[in-house]
Amino acid sequence: MKNKKHAWIFGYSKQSRSIAASLLAENFSITIIENDDKNFQDALSDGYVNSVLIDITADTELEKLDIKQSDWILCLMEDEYLNVFLTLSLRASCTCNQIIAISHSIYSTQKLIMAGANQVIDVYQVSANRIHNIFEKPITTKLMDNFISPSHEISFEEFTIPKNSFLDGAIIDEVDFDKFGIIFTGIVDKELGDELIFAASNINHKIDNGDIIICIGKNEDLVKFGKYLYKDIA
């Protein structure tokens, strides 16, 4: 049986509640870490029995948490100073983990990146981008809304190329994605690193197993493509 992914969520605010609930639905196991007793009690009453109340500014207490290398770390503290400090402390002790932080201003976004977060989601930047797109690119906005809507029809999907699949060893230009009704958007060519290469860059890559391709399409077409890609793969 495949191991459950584990996420450590630091901070149990209104925002982190919905993130925790979504991750739980995605079969993640979750541990909530809080330094505020009220939020800690809220986490417990919401059913997160693994929740821990600690002083998150104390390194010794963080080290006791036993965070594995493959675990995800989410820094969602409402206090911006604390969030930056926490990110820095965690990066110092968990050098290999993926750390994702939420930011509420451009200044703390920069600081969180400097502190070692792998991804920083700037709450207002995301919204500002969307307002900008509403004015400048209304169709793009509709499409993007589609991606983020729970009832989306068109979405992005990433596929890791399995060994011996029909794409293993294929040249991108020779693959007819139209046949599946989907658009090939980009590839992470593991031979070249983890950088995403967009399809329009016109570099004709050879696809190998382990590479990740990104496609955009209608949900049913993406599902069909996925089934075709993984067919006959043990």
Binding site: I100, V123, Y124, A128, A200, S201
Partner: protein, 508 residues
């Protein structure tokens, strides 16, 4: 019987679309600052005023030329006369007063009396006739006394916002200025009478009470022409008192006017900003200044066609220091949005403050004024979204929801996150753009296959056809492009720009 015909006539006008639209046209032409053609009429009238005044000045030394005389006496006067009559006409609706009076009489079951409505009509029109602008207009028409026509220059006051603002500022200090004026009249009167009593028979330059009052005014104003001077010791003492008191009064008057201007300075600045933004065909009103507004304006300053409305003067002053266009006002008030050209311009309102209640209220205020105003509102929580939709918001932004979706995508599908992030942020490597197929450009009539997007290093994501709102995702290669289709393409920014330029250059 007469009343019956009058009422019938009033209802006839009320129901006549042609009459209503004609009257509205002339109203817009003369009074609506936001109407494009008003500017042309204003310029025409300003040229007429100036040419008339120049003709008058020229004629003082050079005499009156025949054709200039005819131009000034007839053409200018006739145009001003027509303008006066039109302004008087559009000032109020006579037929509506008659109908209102008639309906009142019907409701109360009393006989309709035309004279009651007639008095109301006269009162309404008289209110216009006695207004300073209308008096100046009337004088400007009068051709009888030639020298009086120099007063036509005062008609320019209509078109000079600065003078209008100056008068408005003075109006706010009416009480203080009137008190000072009464004091000044009292001072001039008493010193003039005293001087007449003391030197009326001694001073050869004071021959009447008028000479004495004239001396008092010249002395109080500290002008001192020297044509009349006191000759007795008592007269000189009165002069000294008049000069010192005059100086004090002048200082008071100056301080009152300066303080009035300081108090109104922000309002004047705000009005200027509103006037300048109202000249635009489309503009954005931003309500609520915070992180989101800052980030948005860093990304898109809407070609400077925006204004932030902030009710807190301290925050407004900080916004101004940050270099953004701001006015201090409470946007939830009905009359604030009506200051903007919502009738003719394409207006978008961004309610992006962090208070849901206020954002909803502003949304409702805007939508109650005009359904055409586009409202983009920020909701603090997904549960509030429904309320914003009910209030009429065209787009609802829930920052936490969007951030959460991005965060979850970054965990579940990290590569997809990179794509979406690049697209949302408009990164150069993955630039998503919309290209409208314009009339006569090189794209019309071509099939998607012919355009060869792939060789141009572009991906065609889909097409929005003009005839139906549905977005066609990944359209077949045989699809023919038509005018007003919108292509959604993705690729490196440089490729997108090159594609747009190459097809726009091929305009036939």
């Amino acid at each position: 019987m007469f009343s019956k015909y009058i009422v019938k006539f009033a209802f006839g006008l009320y129901n006549s679309k042609r009459y209503t639209s004609t009257k509205k046209f002339f109203y817009d032409l003369l009074e609506n600052e936001n109407y494009h053609y008003k500017k042309i009429v204003d310029i025409f009238l300003i040229i007429l005023i100036l040419s008339s005044v120049i003709e008058l000045i020229y004629s003082i030394k050079h005499g009156v030329h025949g054709w200039l005389y005819i131009f000034d006496l007839y053409i200018v006067s006739i145009v001003f006369g027509i303008e006066y009559m039109l302004r008087l006409w559009v000032h109020s609706d006579m037929h509506k007063i008659i109908i209102k009076e008639y309906e009142r009489s019907q409701f109360l079951k009393i006989q309709f009396k035309f004279y009651a409505a007639f008095i109301q009509i006269l009162t309404e029109k008289w209110n216009y006739i006695k207004s300073p602008a209308a008096i100046i207009d009337l004088i400007a028409i009068s051709p009888t006394y030639r020298e009086l026509r120099i007063l036509r220059i005062f008609k320019l006051l209509r078109y000079t916002t600065s003078i209008g603002q100056f008068i408005n500022v003075l109006k706010t200090k009416r009480f203080e200025l009137m008190t000072l004026l009464i004091l000044l009249i009292f001072l001039i009167g008493t010193t003039g009478v005293a001087m007449y009593a003391l030197e009326g028979n001694i001073n050869k330059n004071i021959n009447s009470i008028f000479d004495a009052v004239y001396w008092a005014l010249i002395t109080t104003a500290t002008v001192g022409y020297g044509d009349i001077a006191p000759v007795t010791t008592m007269g000189r003492i009165i002069s000294m008192i008049a000069i010192i008191t005059g100086l004090v009064l002048m200082a008071f008057a100056t301080s009152v006017i300066v303080s009035a201007f300081l108090e109104k300075l922000n309002e004047i600045k705000d009005n200027r900003l509103i006037d300048s933004i109202n000249k635009e065909d489309r503009f954005v009103i931003i309500c609520g200044y915070g992180q989101m507004a800052k980030m948005l304006l860093r990304q898109n300053n809407f070609d400077n066609k925006y204004v932030i409305i902030e009710k807190d003067p301290n925050i407004a002053s900080q916004i101004a220091k940050d270099g953004f266009n701001v006015i201090t006002d409470d946007v939830s008030r009905h009359d604030v949005i009506t200051k903007f050209n919502i009738q003719y311009a394409n207006v978008s309102i961004l309610c992006i403050g962090n208070d849901d209640v206020e954002n909803i209220y502003i949304t409702l205020t805007a939508k109650s004024l005009s359904k055409d105003i586009r409202v983009i509102a920020r909701a603090s929580d997904i549960s509030m979204k429904k309320k914003f939709v009910l209030a009429g918001a065209d787009h609802v932004i829930v920052p936490n929801q969007m951030a959460n979706i991005m965060l979850l995508t970054s965990i579940k599908q990290p590569v997809v996150y990179n794509v979406m992030h690049a697209l949302l942020a408009g990164k150069h490597a993955a630039y998503l753009d919309e290209i409208k197929v314009l009339a006569y450009d090189g794209l019309i009539g071509k099939s998607i296959q012919e355009i060869e997007f792939k060789t141009k290093k572009l991906l065609l994501i889909g097409i929005q056809k003009e005839d139906h709102n549905d977005f066609i995702f990944n359209p077949p290669a045989s699809t023919i492009l038509e005018q007003n289709d919108i292509l959604l393409i993705m690729g490196p920014k440089i490729s997108v720009e090159h594609f747009i330029n190459s097809f726009q250059r091929s305009l036939k």
